[in-house]
């Protein structure tokens, strides 16, 4: 259990990290050219009206005072009132987080469902036609941008075949799952390409490793050598690769959510940027940052569970 002690200590180490992230997002948002009050009121607003709005949202204060308000709000469980939606940003985030979370989970699960068997086939039949085909597909998968891939999937499965909904996010659970398939697949196709390549390399190294030779010398059949000895060892580096990619993916949902009109955080972020809704942009950015930090933390826990040599 000593190896898991970092689980208790790590949250405290994350405090300075999150503090730093909040400062950076707060400042960067305000570097975007454009004035939220002006955008909110339109081009024909009077200077007095603009000044009123600026005062109402505290935008006339110096930036460090604004930041202190932000911290004060955060302590009270608020992220500041959105200039666009007129409600507290945290409430907005809470209502929008579910589709995004579901999308990321669907993407990762589908990616693993695709990547593990593909990598296994590719590694065990190295140099055959199946291996080459899988490698070409995974290289292509990395190359295709997700907005294009998503559009193609919509044309094929939603428009031509009419199997799945074009866009949006359902109400009932079954409906939601149905709506998640295409955007999930869009994410999974590019993510699985990265994972397949890493897993394949790990498995190929594992198949000729001393561990595999020793297992074969004990008379273990090839399937046991592969699934019981090679795969667990190949998973360790892949977990970290997956964590890095999922962190990147959370930001990437912005694109996929736009293509499929999924009402998630990514969409909220895009709207917030266009209307210079500082509160929303910094709130969502902070949420993404927290999510990335949590995922890496989770990856560390999984790594410790998979590899008894790792001590954190």
């Amino acid at each position: 259990m000593r190896r898991y002690r970092f689980v208790l200590v790590r949250p405290f180490q994350l405090i300075p990290v999150l503090f730093g992230i909040s400062v950076i997002t707060f400042v960067l948002v305000r570097l975007i050219p454009g004035d939220p009050a002006r955008i909110l009121l339109g081009t024909r607003a009077t200077p007095t009206a603009i000044a009123n709005i600026r005062a109402q949202y505290g935008l006339d204060e110096p930036i460090w005072v604004q930041y202190l308000y932000f911290l004060k709000n955060l302590a009270a469980g608020e992220m500041g009132k959105s200039t666009l939606y007129k409600v507290d940003t945290l409430k907005l985030i809470v209502t929008r987080i579910e589709p995004t979370l579901a999308l990321v989970v669907a993407g990762v699960v589908l990616a693993l469902v695709i990547a593990v068997p593909f990598a296994a086939i590719s590694a065990r039949r190295q140099g055959t036609a199946a291996d080459h085909a899988i490698r070409i597909v995974s290289t292509a998968g990395i190359g295709f941008p997700s907005f294009w891939l998503g559009a193609m999937l919509i044309i094929l499965f939603a428009v031509r075949l009419d199997w799945l909904p074009v866009s949006g996010y359902g109400d009932s659970l079954g409906d939601k799952l149905l709506h998640l398939i295409l955007p999930g697949l869009t994410i999974a196709l590019s993510l699985s390409a990265v994972i397949t390549r890493s897993l394949r390399a790990g498995m190929i190294a594992g198949l000729s490793s001393d561990v595999a030779v020793a297992a074969r010398a004990r008379g273990m059949p090839e399937s046991v050598v592969f699934w019981r000895h090679v795969v667990p060892n190949a998973l360790v580096p892949t977990v970290n690769l997956l964590a890095i990619n999922v962190g990147w993916l959370i930001g990437g949902t912005v694109v996929v959510e736009s293509v499929f009109a999924v009402p998630g955080l990514g969409q909220l972020m895009v709207r917030g940027i266009f209307s210079r809704d500082y509160m929303v942009v910094q709130g969502v950015a902070l949420t993404f940052a927290v999510a990335t930090v949590l995922i890496n933390f989770l990856a560390d826990v999984v790594t410790v569970a998979l590899d008894p040599r790792v001590e954190l």
């Binding site: 200590v9 490793s209 020793a214 074969r216 010398a217 004990r218 008379g219 360790v236 040599r309 001590e311």
Partner: protein, 551 residues
């Protein structure tokens, strides 16, 4: 007695497109039931390949058996389905238990896997049997070992674990491929004793692959000597060692470092001048684990070591792995931060005037490393490597560099044409000579050689030791030779420093320390060296201490 395993006229070739290169040629060997057969030869002689061929696990698909037969209890097994033979009838253990044990599976589960497959035991029965096996191979706390992972044990215990994993399949024949090469001598003695015990208790037949004739002399009944893919000589142990028929066998025996050398124990230098190295109360600690906001633990690799080395001396620093000998060497060259004490090199104090002393050290001292391949830049030719050193040092005029490279190659006994070759195209011995040439390039007064012959074959070892002996005699070089092999040190060095757990336990002239040791630890180290004379039985390898048990 019947032949348990009979290999007849076995040939294996490497085949790639048009090319066909024989690797084993007409090898014939017989393993009698219950005997230990020593298979001796240098790297590349084909001894490991032979054993891998027997169990059908050739390391490459480009290798093919071209002719011959392998009979197990009279039945031909070549080309047969090996699933029922591997592990169950012929087991194998390997040189490096660290890489051959699954790092993410407990030792217990690896044993249980074999028991379930070959004996059909259910989980509970397998657990009980696994614990009994762990007891048999000498784990003091088998239940704990059952639930532990390989990395939690020392090298010797890992080898025991690997033996237990192999025994779980209950083999009749055990092939042990260099099982003790990576281990300290005292641990080696324990493992060899364990193998002999297992042979007696379980009636195993064992093929012991080794490059060390001492190991063979101490453990085997018969010996087969291999070279270039052929068996050059086979015979009963005593007869073969006493009257080797083949010239190569004679060379192997003569190269064995435990043989008394004509110039045994070189004479000592007078200590009249100022020491070149003065080390006082040296401490080196490494942080272990821990991190931001968590406590640091420390490992003290060197504890309060004081040592004087005089110009022209050849000093051997010996000790088992973890004794701190390499750390001491690195600290002396300023390659490791020192936690306490002083190091003085030729009058300037490294620990006080670091930059000045380092400059001095870099031009007057050089290091030769253990791994000749990995310590040379693979992208540079030997000539480029040497030229780089010569240019950096700046004492050789540009126009003289090529000539100086030639001289250096002459000095280490390499043909001048080697300047144009890259490390990959060199053998281990040639690579190590290039490494020594690089060390000599700065025209050093001191060379520190860290286990620089450990990875080499015995005949090559002997050549490198001769080279060092010749260099020290001709150039007045001070040599600090770090090794775990006492026999080599006895041949080369006038003075021996014995280290254990970061401390110096004994220091004195080789002849005295190695023949009349004052400390029991030194005596135990010497006793554990397998002597090539079978009538001087293997000592040492006493029951486990707690220290040896844990890493």
């Amino acid at each position: 007695m019947s032949a348990h395993l009979e290999i007849a006229g076995l040939s294996v070739a490497f085949r790639d497109h048009q090319e066909e290169r024989p690797l084993l040629e007409g090898v014939s060997l017989t393993l009698t039931r219950g005997e230990i057969l020593g298979l001796v030869g240098e790297s590349g002689s084909g001894k490991s390949l032979l054993c891998r061929t027997v169990i059908g696990l050739m390391p490459s698909r480009k290798l093919h058996v071209t002719e011959g037969s392998v009979r197990l209890d009279g039945d031909e097994i070549l080309g047969r389905d090996m699933g029922a033979i591997r592990g169950r009838r012929i087991g194998m253990i390997f040189q490096n238990p660290t890489s051959h044990l699954d790092p993410v599976m407990t030792i217990g589960n690896q044993i249980r896997e074999g028991l379930a497959r070959h004996k059909g035991l259910d989980d509970r029965a397998a657990r009980a049997e696994a614990i009994s096996l762990l007891t048999q191979v000498g784990f003091p706390d088998p239940a704990h070992a059952f639930a532990s992972y390989a990395h939690q044990f020392s090298g010797g215990m890992r080898q025991r674990a690997m033996i237990a994993v192999a025994l779980a399949c209950d083999p009749e024949i055990l092939i042990a491929d260099e099982p003790t090469t990576a281990l300290d001598v005292t641990v080696q003695a324990q493992i060899l004793r364990l193998l002999m015990e297992l042979r007696d208790r379980r009636g195993l037949s064992i093929i012991l692959i080794t490059h060390d004739l001492g190991v063979v002399a101490q453990t085997c009944d018969r010996i087969a000597v291999m070279r270039h893919g052929k068996v050059v000589e086979t015979g009963a142990k005593r007869a073969l060692l006493a009257e080797p028929q083949h010239a190569y066998t004679r060379e192997l025996i003569a190269s064995h470092p435990s043989m008394p050398h004509p110039e045994d124990a070189p004479e000592t230098h007078p200590h009249d001048r100022r020491p070149i190295f003065e080390i006082d109360g040296l401490d080196v600690s490494f942080p272990m684990g821990g991190g931001f906001l968590t406590g640091h633990r420390e490992v003290r690799a060197v504890k309060g070591v004081s040592l004087r080395i005089w110009p022209g001396e050849t000093v051997g620093i010996v000790g088992e792995s973890g004794s701190g000998k390499s750390t001491l060497a690195r600290a002396m060259l300023g390659l490791t931060r020192v936690s306490g004490g002083d190091i003085t090199f030729d009058g300037s104090v490294l620990t006080k005037e670091r930059d000045k002393t380092l400059k001095h050290l870099r031009s007057d001292a050089a290091m030769v490393f253990q791994d000749p391949f990995n310590s040379l830049n693979p992208r540079m030719t030997v000539g480029q490597t040497l030229a780089e050193v010569l240019r950096t040092q700046g004492e050789t005029p540009r126009g003289r560099i090529a000539a100086r490279i030639g001289e250096l190659l002459d000095l280490v006994g390499l043909n001048r044409s080697f300047a144009a070759r890259r490390p990959r195209s060199l053998s281990g011995g040639q690579c190590q000579r290039a490494g020594i040439a690089r060390a000599l390039a700065v025209n050093p007064r001191v060379i520190i050689a860290d286990e620089c012959v450990a990875a080499l074959d015995v005949t090559i070892q002997a050549q490198i030791v001769d080279l060092f002996r010749d260099l020290t005699r001709r150039t007045g070089l001070t040599l600090i030779f770090i090794a775990h092999d006492l026999a080599i040190v006895r041949n080369l060095c006038e003075r021996v420093v014995v280290m254990r757990h970061g401390e110096i336990v004994e220091d004195g002239p080789s002849a005295r320390v190695l023949h009349r040791p004052e400390r029991s630890y030194t005596a135990a180290l010497i006793a554990a060296i397998p002597d090539i004379n079978p009538d001087r039985p293997l000592n040492g390898g006493q029951p486990l201490t707690q220290q040896e048990y844990a890493t």
